[in-house]
Amino acid sequence: MQLTINGDIHEAQAPLTVLGLIERFGLDPRKVAIERNFEIVPRSVYGETQLADGDRLEIVHFVGGG
């Protein structure tokens, strides 16, 4: 399946969950949120949210400055 991640097209083998994506990219889930098709994915469903062909994903890095 084809995924667009931060604007770049990636080929990925299905099935792949949001949790699997986080592990594949070596992301620290305490520092990022995952946006899938213009919606933040709730943390508690990372393991059960299956990615689908054509999904647009963005890795949202937290900022805390003011």
Binding site: R30, R43, V60, G64, G65
Partner: protein
């Protein structure tokens, strides 16, 4: 109390807007807003809220003005370096609009004082500079049922959202709060602060002004609330996007089985 002739003239460009009008301006004048942090975000937020005629502005900041603040914290002047930020901000706001009453809280927010302070206000805008305070303010606003407009910046990116997780959306689910986005506080030092990474000054102007605007929308009911959504501004790419920010049923504060019922975990 009816608007005076001077107020009718001062707020004429608001009063002419059908979304605000005389009643909306009256509501602004009768509203008490608390701004956390008189820094990069708090400066423009406070200045626009004062210019808009928000009747009472509370400011929380325990810090003093330093020279390296002035590249972005436009509420403070060079002559005020070394003075408490709440005093410097109070003088600027009085110059902008003498209608506005300013309440200065020169304290560090803590589990011991936050509920007492925020419960005196109708709405809170958080532009503080650290994650622990963001969680503290989030939890306190949820428990006290006070709407929270939360803004944050990194070097070239800004994020803003409105949290009122004590209310429910059209589908009957609670609106999201900060814990639905960030989960738990990132490990200390894992996300470096502005003083280490730098921040483009005008970026704080964009996000701080948007915070003022969303506060005004909450007060007047103009347009669509940002509750349940997150806006992200990528300044380098000049890109805004607005995402849905759903409620997580496992949110420890507002979820189905909440474990956070007071502020003891912040003590």
């Amino acid at each position: 109390m009816p608007l005076s002739d001077a107020q009718l003239e001062r707020y004429a460009r608001h009063i002419i807007l059908k979304e605000i009008g005389g009643p909306g301006q009256q509501r602004l004048l009768n509203t008490r807003v608390l701004v956390i942090g008189a820094g990069g975000l708090g400066a423009p937020c406070l200045m626009y809220l004062a210019a808009a005629g928000v009747g009472t502005l509370g400011i929380v900041d325990h810090d003093t003005v330093s020279l390296s603040n002035l590249q972005r914290q436009i509420i403070h002047d060079t002559v005020n370096v070394g003075r408490p930020k709440v005093e410097s901000a109070r003088e600027s706001l009085a110059r902008i609009n003498p209608d506005v009453k300013v309440e200065a809280h020169q304290v560090k927010l803590s589990a011991a004082n936050v509920l007492d302070i925020i419960s005196r206000y109708d709405i809170v805008a958080d532009g503080c500079d650290n994650f622990p305070t963001r969680f503290l303010v989030n939890d306190a606003c949820h428990l006290a049922k006070v709407p929270l407009v939360s803004g944050a910046v990194g070097p070239f990116e800004g994020q803003i959202a409105t949290f009122k997780s004590y209310e429910r959306d059209e589908a009957g689910k609670p609106f999201a709060n900060y814990r639905d986005l960030v989960g738990e506080a990132p490990p200390p030092g894992s996300i470096p602060a502005c003083e280490e990474t730098g921040v483009l000054g005008a970026l704080t102007g964009v996000i701080g002004s948007m915070m003022a605007l969303e506060v005004i929308k909450e007060i007047t009911g103009a347009g669509t609330s940002l509750a349940g959504r997150l806006l992200i501004y990528d300044a380098l790419d000049t890109r805004f996007r607005t995402l849905r920010l759903p409620h997580d049923p496992k949110n420890p504060l507002s979820g189905d089985n909440p474990s956070i019922r007071d502020l003891n975990s912040h003590a």
